[in-house]
């Protein structure tokens, strides 16, 4: 199994390098929205002094960490896989004795992320000197605690996205379903607004949803803003959602493959 992943990595890494210009464009596109949220919230807080206890610099700090967490926990499987179901090119992968989504597509996503993170680093450093975030709350233990949280966030997010991508077995309009899913993430992950600024109802709901694990939870871990109790609660939620997302993905994939019509090739 190790050899399979090693060779998959070599192939996918080489492939992603072929598209490095494309990747850079993607990175710039992807950077736009968090930087806009950062700019908007900072200027609002700058005028008012603070928004619900968040100063301008709090926003800067929050979004600077978000840039990293989002890059680590997000995935692009909808763009790299749904079309294979629709145009039938999945056929070639389905007859191989490895799971197409849990091996090749997964490694492909990780290779993609490694390259975009390499592109992000210099941009992040420039932003750091531009906005001067306050990282005084960051501790080594916080950072160490955030790493497994981000890995869990990535795995859960990947499985949920993979399940939604698998809806392409049923409908050719899977991209609009994914857009809707993306809007929910935007709202409940803490990307659009840090969660404490949301109405109480949304905060309460968000606590039980997996989406805060993608951004808000690891950000707060890194910035050392969670109590021991909150940290434990977050990890328990991550465990619960890991199980749910595994079961959900397995079910959707199994039922979907039965409907595969292997069109074209």
């Amino acid at each position: 199994m190790f050899l399979i992943f090693k060779r998959l990595w070599q192939v996918n890494w080489a492939e992603q390098w072929q598209y490095r210009a494309n990747l850079l464009m993607y990175l710039l596109y992807w950077l736009v929205s968090p930087i806009i949220y950062l700019a908007v919230w900072t200027s609002i807080a700058g005028v008012k002094g603070e928004v619900n206890g968040f100063t301008a610099n709090d926003f800067v700090t929050y979004y600077m960490v978000l840039l990293i967490c989002d890059q680590i926990t997000s995935n692009i499987i909808i763009h790299t896989f749904a079309y294979k179901i629709q145009d039938g090119s999945l056929s070639g992968e389905l007859v191989k004795p490895i799971h197409p989504m849990l091996t090749n597509a997964l490694v492909n996503n990780i290779a993609f992320k490694m390259l975009t993170i390499m592109g992000l680093i210099p941009i992040w450093i420039i932003l750091f000197f531009l906005f001067k975030p306050d990282f005084s709350g960051v501790t080594l233990s916080g950072v160490l605690l955030s790493i497994p949280a981000m890995v869990l966030g990535f795995v859960i997010g990947y499985l949920l996205s993979a399940a939604i991508t698998s809806l392409a077995f049923w409908t050719t309009r899977v991209y609009s379903i994914h857009e809707f899913y993306f809007a929910i993430i935007l709202l409940f992950s803490g990307q659009f607004v840090p969660l404490p600024l949301m109405p109480k109802v949304i905060q309460d709901i968000a606590q039980f949803l997996p989406f805060q694990l993608f951004m808000y939870y690891p950000i707060q871990l890194i910035l050392g803003r969670l109590s021991a109790e909150q940290i434990i609660q977050g990890y328990i939620m991550a465990g619960v959602w890991l199980v749910i997302s595994i079961l959900f993905f397995n079910w959707v994939w199994r039922e979907g493959v039965k409907r595969f019509s292997a069109v074209g090739a």
């Binding site: 998959l8 072929q18 070639g92 004795p97 595969f260 292997a262």
Partner: protein, 325 residues
């Protein structure tokens, strides 16, 4: 011993959404979709024993590829059963996938953006092929298909025929016991086709592998297969020896005629006129094989012939004529 491939009452019905053109039909279709049922494969039965090479023939849309897709596990049948090497294909058990191969089209196993050599190494890992066995198989494939010069180029830069060679090789690296080949020689030149045939025959002899192949080229089938299965409109029409088949099908030849002047002469008195969409310059008539010499000499005597060809009719046409009743 139970047969390697056992197909019982295998059926596949596709539901295809259907609507008329125009705006109002589009709106109606939004709320209530109409589906048409297409019976691609209907109650097909056959058995193939270990080591057989069987040609799977039928006109376009007959259900050949659908059957191959079900046998390789890509499609779930609507009804009926199939077992290959004791496995139910569509359960997609890794042990099954490791012992068979499906070669279909030219964009399948190889990654488009990287050299074939890298994809081959990935295959080695995926199929758990030991190093020495991999080297041995690669050497054999290279001898027959002359792969070496192609291995270092990104697959996208290979020609159609070169890509097909690499696809077939990639599909055989793990020495499958059962081979499903959909048009394995398509896009290859004559020597390429002959090489692949030669290779498949050799592979079958050496490993005792079972091969089921579809082809547009009668030469593929006559060179490799002793047994033919024909399906038409999703139904099994013939299953038996190739020699019996040629007796069953009245042997025809196709005479293509290009006249020196305008095509105003009526050729229908020499034989049945047939359409050939690929060649507008010539008129084609179909005659019984035994009459070819007679008709040709009459044509040459009667008409100002510029060019004349005699060929076998395409395999689909032959089957269409024989089984369309």
């Amino acid at each position: 011993m139970s047969p390697t491939i056992h197909v019982q009452q295998l059926s596949k019905t596709y539901k295809v959404p259907e609507r008329e053109g125009g705006f109002s039909a589009a709106v109606r279709g939004f709320f209530k979709r109409k589906y048409k049922e297409v019976k691609a494969v209907q109650r097909v039965d056959f058995k193939i024993e270990q080591g057989e090479i069987v040609g799977f023939l039928g006109p376009n849309g007959a259900g050949k590829t659908t059957t191959l897709k079900m046998l390789s596990g890509l499609l779930h049948p609507s009804n009926g059963n199939a077992s290959v090497l004791g496995f139910t294909p569509w359960e997609l058990k890794p042990d099954y996938l490791r012992s068979m191969t499906l070669v279909m089209g030219q964009r399948n196993r190889l990654s488009w953006d990287i050299p074939a050599a890298d994809s081959f190494l990935l295959h080695q890992a995926i199929y758990r092929i030991p190093d020495d066995e991999y080297k041995q198989t690669y050497k054999e494939l290279d001898e027959l298909l002359e792969l070496e010069p192609l291995m270092k180029k990104p697959v996208r830069n290979l020609s159609l025929g070169e890509r097909m060679k690499c696809e077939i090789a990639a599909g055989l690296l793990h020495r499958p016991k059962v081979l499903f080949l959909d048009e394995p020689t398509i896009g290859l030149d004559i020597t390429g086709q002959a090489r692949i045939r030669e290779f498949l025959r050799e592979y079958n002899k050496r490993t005792g592998a079972t091969i089921l192949l579809t082809s547009h080229y009668m030469a593929d089938v006559t060179a490799l297969c002793e047994r033919i299965i024909i399906i038409h409109h999703g139904q099994l029409k013939y299953d038996g020896g190739i020699s019996d088949l040629s007796k069953k099908i009245a042997p025809f030849k196709l005479i293509g005629v290009m006249l020196a002047e305008s095509n105003s002469h009526d050729l229908s008195k020499y034989g049945e006129l047939v359409q050939n969409e690929e060649d507008w310059e010539k008129q084609y008539i179909q005659v019984k094989a035994e009459d070819v010499t007679r008709v040709t000499s009459r044509l040459l005597a009667d008409l100002p012939i510029h060019d004349i060809t005699i060929a076998d009719p395409p395999i689909e046409d032959v089957i269409e004529q024989a089984f369309n009743s």
